[in-house]
Symmetry: C2
Subunit: 204 residues, 2 copies
DNA sequence: CGTGATCCTGACCAACTGGTCAATATTTTG
DNA sequence: CAAAATATTGACCAGTTGGTCAGGATCACG
């Protein structure tokens, strides 16, 4: 059953939001273990007991962030449909994922941190809903391949490649920027590169 | 000046090695903050004070691991030479990086953890030695491109793509396995996929 | 075999962490 | 505006953490 849409006072709404934003910042930058409730509170401009007035525990904050994240994270993949041009749709998916890395790098890093540590709070979803979604879209992509509308390839690994290539720019941002040096816009450069890559890979 | 090759007793050599192995295991799985000296000691089969007899601090262990890692990590890139077939060399590089993800996933995750948290103990190297190395190899690759021996592309982002695509299989291993389910060998499947991808991307 | 160097440990410590709670301040609402 | 509901806090606690240290065990070597 979906959680009852609990009545929230004005203050409750605002403070829960503030805390979640601060926590996202901290968890993404320091990881779960490296983040203290005190730092979350400080970033949020609240006292530690006050943070714990709105959330029962540090883990509860983390869990809530992850849940909210997942919906958002998978939305672009859901939008791949059987109708429309195969190449356009896959290119659009890659482009949208790259935009998400650019616009929501903290979310990307939160996710990366979690998966990197073995996804202790997420693995049921990875093996459940995510797996089914991938299965579904991979089947569609392979149908396209069989019809000769795109190249024959391993659709699951195609999806992995899109994840890897786009999230890399958020998750390894320091490295990318250190290597490129100043005066580069990683995302602006990545877009045409990925476009070129997938056009060539997918050409029938 | 390079560190003097300090004399090490038999026991010292063995125990330092044991500790580093245990620490790699822990740091890769739990991150820096999530790892305790006690756990390292337990995994190594030693007492905590004994671990601190061989290393002055937790951070020193971590730093030593990172330093050792970096040489190993960049070796394959160094092997790209001006002589030899361009396509072969880039494909071989990608293949070797994939093998490293398969054979040294803990090293990959240690590195990912570090970069993800902003590379606090590594950024000078990223912007220094790594940057120079990339600059060097990127120039070479772009020469090949200008000569029409491979497709024209952004060489730096080509290298990023190789890092992203290969390290993904180690860093996001739980996700890859959860999505593929049992009965799949991610690395065995990834190899031909990456081969196909780079052959098509690089074809003049 | 003995003695100096190396190795190892239990006991300890100060700082920090997640979390509690009773008391107080502020809002909301009848 | 008064009382009830909500929000906030300082003080506190028990457990954990990185790290120290004095003393004892073990080893290498003349």
């Amino acid at each position: 059953m979906p959680e009852a849409p609990r009545r929230q006072s004005r203050i409750q709404k605002k403070n829960r939001e503030t805390i979640l934003t601060a926590a996202l910042q901290e968890f993404a930058a320091q990881g779960y273990a490296g983040t203290t409730i005190d730092r979350i509170a400080e970033t949020a401009g609240l006292s530690k007991p006050n943070v714990l007035y709105y959330f029962p525990s540090k883990e509860a904050i983390h869990r809530e962030l992850l849940e909210a994240l997942l919906d958002m994270w998978l939305a672009p993949l859901r939008e791949i449909r059987a109708d429309g041009d195969p190449l356009d749709q896959i290119l659009a998916y890659a482009r949208r994922k790259l935009e998400m890395s650019r616009d929501y790098p903290r979310e990307s890093r939160l996710f990366a941190n979690e998966v990197l540590q073995g996804a202790p709070r997420l693995s049921p979803i990875l093996g459940g809903a995510l797996r089914e979604l991938v299965e579904d879209k991979a089947a569609l992509i392979e149908t396209w391949a069989e019809q000769g509308r795109i190249a024959r390839l391993d659709a699951r690994h195609l999806l992995f490649s899109i994840w890897a290539l786009t999230q890399h720019y958020a998750d390894f941002e320091v490295q990318v920027r250190a290597v490129l040096g100043q005066g580069h816009d990683p995302y602006a450069e990545a877009e045409p590169f990925l476009d070129q890559l997938y056009r060539r890979l997918l050409a029938p």
